[in-house]
């Protein structure tokens, strides 16, 4: 089946590029290895949890940094620490790296630096979300399935 081979090739190449470009690291590969017949949607489920977590934490950080009376940097840092943990657990390397820099700015109580990191982390999260959605779509197609159309 030529088309399926093409699709499989596409999926493999895309996956490799995401690793090469630093979006994903080995931890993501570990998650894929854990997926089995008992939990066939494991990776997608973990990714969904991650994106929900991201949105919630980014909102927390934004709110904390907006405080005109004085930013509670410990509160910001607590959210960044959590995001760093989650991104590390899923293998979201670029998001994790921004979190590392972000924590330094929190420690230095540097609001400008924090705001820059917030922008970066939001950007990296969006990029990753798009790319993973593409990857999962390709995975379904490569397996010979079809993407359900949502009305």
């Amino acid at each position: 089946m030529d088309v399926v081979n093409q699709l499989q090739r596409q999926f493999i190449d895309y996956s490799a590029s995401l690793h090469r470009e630093g979006f994903l690291d080995d931890q993501f590969t570990q998650l894929q290895k854990l997926q089995d017949d008992n939990s066939p949607d494991f990776v997608v489920e973990v990714a969904s949890l991650f994106f929900e977590d991201c949105e919630k934490l980014i909102n927390n950080m934004a709110r904390a940094l907006e405080q005109q009376q004085g930013v509670d940097f410990r509160q910001v840092d607590a959210s960044v620490h959590q995001l760093k943990g989650s991104s590390s657990s899923i293998g979201a390397m670029r998001v994790k790296d921004v979190c590392v820099a972000f924590r330094s700015f929190c420690e230095a109580q540097n609001r400008e630096g924090c705001l820059r990191c917030l922008q970066q982390v939001t950007h990296e999260y969006s990029l990753l979300k798009n790319k993973l959605q593409t990857l999962f779509r390709q995975q379904i197609l490569a397996a010979g399935g079809s993407i359900p159309v949502v009305e």
Binding site: Q30, L34, L49, F50, D53, G85, S86, S89, G91
Partner: protein, 167 residues
């Protein structure tokens, strides 16, 4: 099919306040053929164990694996509570953290943790749990012949501490 007592799956209690990490540790443990109960706080872990009741607990937990950084009761606090409990101090406890802080690691190991895993936890880490569980199972089978009310002698407790590896 009737399973012999020795073939019963080990039951691991996993404690982590982060949903993603709970899902991950649960999957790792299930992949390694453990029965898993996952809770999101030290308080819930103690409730599950029945630490607050004076009755015999029906639930048997063979190992506790806990995150270190949790709001309220930290993993270290939980470790201390388990080790100070007459009913549960013999349950092996493993701690995990995303932060690599040597003083934190040493403190947990010195105060009774069997292992300390750095997150993200890998399958190779989970493989390290089996010896702790097998050793406990052998000991339990021996102890079951003795009285349940026997007090552990201080010498035995000291011997246990000497077995701990400090990494």
């Amino acid at each position: 099919m009737v399973m012999a007592a020795s073939e019963t799956k080990f039951h691991v209690l996993a404690v982590d306040d982060t949903l993603i990490d709970r899902k991950l540790i649960e999957k790792l443990l299930k992949t390694s053929s453990y029965q898993v109960t996952a809770v999101d706080s030290g308080t819930k872990a103690l409730e599950f164990l029945g630490l607050n009741n004076n009755d015999h607990h029906d639930v048997e937990v063979n190992l506790i694996i806990t995150d270190y950084c949790m709001p309220g009761m930290t993993g270290y606090d939980l470790l201390r509570k388990i080790k100070e409990s007459s009913s549960f101090k013999d349950i092996p406890v493993v701690t995990m953290s995303s932060d690599n802080i040597p003083s934190r690691i040493n403190r947990c190991l010195e105060d009774g943790a069997e292992e300390f895993f750095l997150k993200p936890v890998q399958l190779s880490d989970v493989n390290k749990l089996r010896p702790h569980l097998m050793k406990r199972r052998t000991q339990t089978n021996v102890n079951k012949r003795k009285s349940m009310d026997e007090i552990v002698s201080p010498d035995r407790a000291r011997a246990r501490y000497n077995e701990l590896e400090v990494k």
